[in-house]
C-alpha cells in the first residue's frame, strides 16, 4: 500500500470531472415520457459544439444512414430518444477528461483508443446479435475502463507504479492495481458512474466487466462488453494498460452467444468502423 486508498479518491470526488450541465438536462428530458423531440432538440441546439458532434456521429459509419441527417430533431425522431442520449453521453465523455491532447501522454491516448475500440466492438457485436439498444452498448464499451483514466489522471504516481509492476512481474493490470492501490479500476469507475448518476445498467457493466457472471440482470450486456474488451486487445486496438490478453470468461462467451460465422465478421467490421469512428471523434477537436 502506498498511502492511497479509495476513500482518498472519494474525498477528491469534487475534483473529479463532471458531465456538462447540458447532459444532465438531457437526461432529465429523456426521463420524461411527455417530452417531445422539440424539447430535446432545443436543449441540444443551445450547445453548438454538442450539436455539431451529435450530427457528425449520426452521419458517421456508426449508422450508415443512406441520407444526410441535417437537423437535431431529424436525428432524434430517426434514432429515438434513448439512442440520442447515449450518443450525447459518448461524445461528452471524450471532452471532459483533460490530457488527451497532451502529446506526452501516450498512455492516456492509448487508453482512450482502447475504450473507443471496445465501444465499437460492443456496438458491432450488438448489431450482429440484433440487440435493440446498440447505442447503450457503445457507451458501456466506452466507459468500461473509465476507472483507469481516473487513476492515470488523478493518481499519476500510483498509476506509474502499477505500470512498472505490470512490466516487472508480468502481472495483469487488475492484479497490479490490487497490490499498489488495494482497489481496482472497476471500483473507481463504478464510483464515478454513480457520481454522474448514470443509468443503473451502465454502472453495473462498469463494475462487473471483469466478472460478467455476477452482473445479474445485466449479465448479457456485461458479457458483451467483456468480450469486446478482449477482442480489442487481441486486435491490438489501443492499449488497456498491460500487454496481456486476459482470459476470456467462459460464461461471457456463452452469454454472448455469437454464431459460427459471427467472429470473423465482427473482427473485420470492428476494425473498419473503429478506423472511421476514430477519425470522426478526433476531427471534432
Amino acid at each position: 500500500m502506498t498511502g492511497v486508498d479509495i476513500s482518498q479518491l472519494i474525498g477528491r470526488v469534487d475534483d473529479l470531472p463532471t458531465l456538462p450541465q447540458t447532459f444532465l438536462r438531457i437526461t432529465q428530458i429523456v426521463n420524461n415520457p411527455r417530452a417531445s423531440a422539440k424539447d430535446l432538440s432545443s436543449v441540444i441546439g443551445d450547445d453548438q459544439v454538442l450539436t455539431a458532434r451529435l450530427l457528425r456521429l449520426v452521419n458517421s459509419s456508426f449508422y450508415g444512414f443512406p441520407q444526410k441527417v441535417s437537423t437535431v430533431t431529424g436525428a432524434i425522431v430517426l434514432l429515438g430518444f434513448d439512442a440520442i442520449r447515449s450518443l450525447l453521453l459518448s461524445s461528452s465523455v471524450f471532452e471532459i477528461f483533460p490530457g488527451r491532447r497532451r502529446k506526452n501522454h501516450k498512455g492516456l491516448s492509448a487508453l482512450w483508443d482502447h475504450a473507443l475500440g471496445c465501444a465499437v466492438g460492443a456496438k458491432v457485436i450488438g448489431s450482429r446479435l440484433r440487440y435493440d439498444n446498440i447505442e447503450e452498448l457503445f457507451v458501456a464499451g466506452l466507459l468500461h475502463d473509465i476507472g483507469k483514466i481516473v487513476e492515470m489522471v488523478y493518481l499519476p504516481d500510483a498509476f506509474s507504479k502499477i505500470q512498472a509492476l505490470v512490466k516487472e512481474k508480468d502481472l495483469l493490470i487488475l492484479d497490479a492495481e490490487q497490490e499498489v492501490l488495494g482497489f481496482s479500476h472497476a471500483e473507481v469507475g463504478t464510483l464515478l458512474a454513480t457520481e454522474w448518476k448514470l443509468p443503473q445498467k451502465l454502472v453495473r457493466i462498469i463494475e462487473m466487466h471483469h466478472l460478467p457472471q455476477e452482473a445479474a440482470n445485466f449479465s448479457r450486456e456485461t458479457s458483451l462488453v467483456h468480450f469486446s474488451d478482449i477482442l480489442c486487445r487481441a486486435l491490438d486496438i489501443g492499449s488497456g494498460g498491460d500487454p496481456w490478453v486476459p482470459p476470456l470468461n467462459d460464461f461471457a462467451w456463452n452469454a454472448v452467444g455469437l454464431d459460427q460465422g459471427g467472429l470473423p465478421y465482427v473482427m473485420t467490421e470492428m476494425t473498419r468502423v473503429y478506423r472511421d469512428m476514430r477519425h470522426v471523434i478526433n476531427s471534432g477537436r
Binding site: I29, V30, N32, P33, R34, A35, S36, A37, K38, D39, S41, S42, G64, F65, P66, Q67, T73, G74, V77, L78, L79, G80, F81, R130, D132
Partner: protein, 416 residues
Amino acid sequence: MAAELGPEAYQDFINNIEDFSHFQEKAGITSGVEHIWGVFLKDMERILNVDLCALFLVNEETHEFELYGVAPEAMRDECLKELDLQIECGVFSWVIDRRLPSVLPSTVFKKRTALMLPLCTANRTLGAVLTVTKMEKSSITMETSRLLGILARQCSLVMENAMLYEHLRKEHESLQKAQSQIIQTEKLASIGRLTRAASHEILNPLNIISGYAHLLKIGSGGDSKPSRYLNEIINESGRIAKVVSGLMQFKGSDALKAASTDLNSVIEKAISLTEYAAKFNKVRMDFSPVPGIGKVMGDSEDLIQVIISIINNSLEAMPEGGDLEIRIEPVKGGGHEEEGFVKVKITDTGCGIPEDVREKALEPFFSTKGDKAMGLGLYMAYCVVQRCGGTIQIGSGPGDKGTCVTIMLPLADKTG
C-alpha cells in the same frame, strides 16, 4: 420545455403499455392477418392521428415487401409511391435493418411525416407498417416513440404466431388428405382381393346349383308349379353369376397387357358410343383431339369402358341438359411424380357429387341410383386405371359446380 410531470403522466404511460400488452388477447393465434391488422389499426389510433396506414408483408418466396392493406383504401397509389421512393433512396432497408421505429419526412406528402415500423421478431422480418401523419415531427414525444416500438413488437409476435399456426394447419391438412387417399386406395385394393377369392368360391357351387336345376326342370317337364319354381332358381342363379362375373371382369389380371393405346381414338370411340344418349339428354359434348399427345399404357377396350362409364354418370347427373367437356393434356414439370403422365379431365355441369359421397364413389356396389344400378361403373374404372398405373380422382367442377373427374395415365414411351 415540457412542464414537470406528476405521477399521473407516468401512470398514463404505464396504462398505455398495459393496454398494448392485451394485444394477444384481442388477436389470438387463430386470427388471420386481417383481424390482427384491424386490432393494430385501432391501437395505432390511440397513439396518434394518422392520415394513412399501410401494412407491407414479406412474401416468403420472393422475399419482397408486398402491400397487404391500406387504410384508407383510396390512398393505395400514393402509399406505393411513398414506399418506392423510400426504397430507392435506401432509407427503407436501413430502417428494416435497424428493426426500430423511425420517423422521416414524407417524400410523397409534402410537409407530412412518415413513420416506419419494422415488424420483426428475433429471427424473422415479417413486414413493415408505413404511416403518414400530419403531426409535426418535432412534437413527437418520447412516449409516442416508445409506444410505437412496443406496439410494433406485440403485433409482430402475434402475427408470427398466427403465421406459424396457419402454416402448420395447412401442412396438417395436406397430410390428412394424403392419409385418407392412402386409406381409400388400401380399402379398394383389399376389396379387390376379397372379390377375386370370393367370386371363385361362389361361381363354382353356383354352377352346380344351376346345373341340377336345369336337370330337374328337364325331368319335371310341362308347366307345373315346381317347374316355375325351378325357373326362378335358374334365373336368380343367372343374376348372381352376372354380378359376380361383373366383378371378375375387373379383378385385375396380374400380367398387364403391355399394349399402348391412342388416347384420342379411345375418347372419340367412347363419345361416338354415347352420342345418342347425350343428344337424348340435351347434353352438348365437347372434345377436340390433341395431336401428338403420345400413346398411353392400357388396353383400348378397357379404357373405352372407363370413359363411357364416366360419361354415363355425367349424363345421369344432367337430366335437364348441360355441357360435358373432355380435355386431354400432357403433364409437364408438375413434380417428379407426375412427369410422363397424360391428364384426362372430364367436366360436367351437372348436379355435382357431395364431398362425403365422393370418397365412397369408387367403392364397388356403391350407388346413389337405387336399384337401377349395381354401383360397379366407377369401381371398374378405378380398377382399370389402377392396373394401367394411373390414378383417378373425383372433384368438383369450376366454381364448385358440377363434377370433374381427373384421370392420370402413364405414357407408353415413358422411360424408366
